[in-house]
């Protein structure tokens, strides 16, 4: 049974990679030709289903939720990105959003397959510090927050490209929704992500206090989460009070996601600390 689950998980990851790539490619074609977006959406749904299967198989093998190391976090993160993408496209009738968001889970899964050492993907014993219910709250809120910010990053990119085309900087026409729609949707999704990011930091502080007796220790992961939070807080303030919309807001949304990528990859691989789990 264990071997069967391991095979399911492994093959699911490869299937996800292929389908996410196909979905991304079809989205790109659809952005130029203004058709095929529905097919891309269906492919994305299939890919997300495969992502779900991989997570379930991992859960059954490990006898716990797959939230304890970098590999598990990346798979869960991709799942959340695609879930929020699918919901956003369905709810707000945005056909081309996937063209700008799907590269992210595709690249993350590629990284897992091509660059992650087998020892990092193996199921390992959880250290005592991770044996807490707060792990579940903390990491689930993180994947939802980061997933939302990935989608807002895509919307920011779409806005920039839309305005560059309208300003004749970009010669290639992409069938993108009106700029105001992109701007407002980005704002809504950032509100969602920001609320969850606040919960990430609060639950992390509570957990750290139970585990290590201190709710904040300026650990690199904590610090960069705070930096990310401040960037998005700055975005919301600037938008509400200084009427920052459009390009400036789009660039801030992009900068915020860059901070998230550094929070995960930069901190994990360049700045190890107390938080060196995922």
């Amino acid at each position: 049974m264990y071997q069967a689950l391991q095979s399911i998980e492994t093959y699911s990851i490869y299937v996800i990679l292929i389908i996410y790539f196909l979905a991304m490619f079809v989205y790109w074609l659809a952005a130029r030709a203004n058709r095929g977006a529905k097919f891309a959406y269906v492919l994305t749904v299939i890919g997300w289903s495969g992502n779900t299967v991989a997570l379930i198989a991992r859960t059954m093998r490990a006898q716990r939720l797959p939230l304890s190391n970098g590999y598990e976090f990346i798979i869960a993160f991709c799942w959340a990105i695609v879930l929020i993408l699918l919901y956003s496209e369905f709810r707000f009738k945005l056909k081309m959003l996937g063209a700008f968001v799907m590269p992210i889970p595709f690249l993350l899964i590629s990284y897992v397959i091509m660059l992650m050492e087998p020892s990092k993907t193996a199921i390992q014993a959880i250290p005592p510090a991770l044996k807490s219910y707060w792990l579940v709250f903390h990491v689930i809120t993180a994947i939802l927050a980061y997933g939302a910010f990935a989608v807002s990053f895509g919307l920011g990119l779409m806005y920039i490209l839309k305005t560059y085309y309208e300003e004749n900087v970009l010669k290639v026409e992409l069938r993108l929704p009106p700029a105001m729609v992109l701007d407002e949707l980005s704002y809504k999704i950032i509100i969602f992500g920001f609320s969850f990011l606040t919960l990430v930091i609060i639950t992390g502080a509570i957990w750290a206090n139970y585990a290590w007796g201190t709710y904040w220790s300026w650990d690199p992961k904590e610090t960069w989460s705070l930096i990310t939070w401040i960037i998005y807080a700055g975005y919301l303030h600037a938008r509400l009070m200084l009427e920052w919309r459009g390009k400036r807001a789009a660039w801030l949304a992009i900068l915020g996601f860059v901070a998230i990528l550094f929070t995960f990859f930069g901190v994990n691989y360049l700045l190890p600390g107390l938080h060196s789990y995922a």
């Binding site: 014993a125 005592p128 606040t198 502080a205 509570i206 007796g213 401040i230 700055g234």
Partner: protein
């Protein structure tokens, strides 16, 4: 207010000041992760946070009056020019019918309506999600609370204790990294355990401690990682664990005793490779160095013994408690005991509750700000006798499309008359 006081007030009330301070915190925080963490304890960094707290406080004071007025005294337009301009609609009809239906549709959509008579008709204002006006105020106050809680934490204390099983340590002998406190009791380490599950995975480290005064036990409890023990407002956290071997080396007519820390392996086949990562320890002044490993759930240890001069090849030896082995032909090594130590962190932080309260308020304030945005519909009816025109408008706020949906529904209902 004097002009300079007013200038200072306006400076701290400014959004740009707040954004500048936040930007500064971002840059300094990032620099701390890349260069030196000492920056976080620096006076300059604390001053920036202090300025941010002042900025938040001033903004909150300014915002309080506005939030109070908007919540309890929504303004009714006196004339058509005062009706919100960006989203408007004109509905002709009978005064009594329109007034009744307006009240009905606004009530059905969750608005609270107030109205008053004017010279040539009547005017109204209707408010929904009124408590949303307090969202931003609550967020700012919450942030100030968190900063206050952090400052209060400076009046607490924090220390570390590493102790053996059976050891009794006076509280006043604990090594405090921050603050200090005098207590007339001691901590006794009753038991220390590195517990494993049936599948071989580590469960947790458990330490059972007693708080004793003059041989009387005041409290007793077990702590583990993520499960601290609390007594007298002080928390005891399980932070580390280490296995040790007490060994004696007899060589060239001399005897040396010491304690060697042991790493942990789950499989004896890993002993050789794992030993490479262990640090070596000199035993007394013997010029003999040892690295040690313990096999999980087994009562023996592996030791790699070096002669520092390099005259003799390093030797790996496996010993159980009380066993003696011979190395380097004439050197005898005895492991008298396998023991362990527990590492505890002892802490009291008077600001923690304030930080948690601030955190809860912060999240609540965000939910109010984002998801319970106030919606204000207001208008005036003007006309001769019963017939006339209702001009109504909605404050657009920052979510124009969302507000428009609500407004359109109200207009559609009224136009059905």
């Amino acid at each position: 207010m004097n002009s300079w006081k007013k200038k200072v007030w306006l400076f701290f009330a400014s959004m740009k000041t707040g954004l500048f301070l936040l930007g500064l915190i971002v840059l300094v925080s990032a620099a701390g992760t890349l260069f030196s963490a000492n920056i976080y304890g620096s006076l300059l960094f604390k001053i920036v946070f202090g300025l941010l707290a002042i900025n938040l406080g001033v903004c909150s004071i300014n915002r309080f009056n506005i939030a109070y007025r908007c919540t309890f005294y929504p303004s009714i337009p006196r004339n058509i020019h005062a009706v919100p301009p960006k989203m408007r609609a004109i509905i002709p009809g009978k005064s009594s019918d329109l007034r009744m239906q307006l009240g009905k549709v606004l009530n059905a959509r969750g608005y609270s309506m107030i109205s008053m008579e004017t010279n040539d008709g009547w005017a109204f204002a209707a408010l929904k999600h009124r408590w949303g006006y307090w969202g931003t105020f609550i967020v700012h106050i919450a942030f100030i609370m968190i900063i206050v809680g952090i400052v209060m934490g400076n009046f607490g204390f924090y220390g570390k204790l590493i102790a053996w099983q059976g050891e009794v340590v006076s509280f006043n002998k604990i090594n405090f990294n921050k603050g200090s406190v005098g207590k007339n009791y001691s901590i006794k380490i009753n038991s220390i355990e590195d517990r494993f599950m049936p599948n071989g995975e580590r469960d947790n480290w458990y330490t059972n401690i007693s708080i004793i005064r003059a041989d009387k036990e005041l409290a007793r409890g077990t702590l583990s990682v993520n499960h601290p023990f609390k007594y007298d407002g002080i928390y005891y956290y399980q932070s580390s664990y280490m296995d040790y071997a007490r060994i004696t080396i007899a060589t060239e007519g001399e005897t040396f005793e010491d304690i060697v820390p042991l790493g942990l392996i789950s499989d004896q086949e890993k002993a050789a490779t794992s030993m490479q990562h262990r640090f070596e320890q000199e035993i007394g002044n013997s010029k003999i160095y040892i690295k040690g490993l313990k096999l999980q759930n087994q009562p023996y240890a592996y030791m790699q013994v070096y002669n520092r001069k390099g005259e003799k090849k390093p030797t790996m030896i496996k010993l159980s408690e009380g066993q003696t082995g011979t190395i380097f032909d004439q050197t005898r090594i005895t492991m008298s005991e396998l023991t362990n130590s527990t590492g505890l962190e002892i802490k009291a932080d008077p600001g923690v509750s304030v930080v948690w309260l601030g955190s809860g308020l912060l999240f609540a304030g965000l939910i109010l700000s984002f998801y319970r945005r106030p919606l204000l519909v207001s208008g005036v009816f003007t006309g001769k006798e019963e017939e006339g025109t209702l001009l109504l408008g909605m404050s657009t706020g920052r979510m124009q499309r969302y507000n428009k949906t609500d407004f359109d529904h109200i207009i559609k209902f009224l136009k059905q008359l």
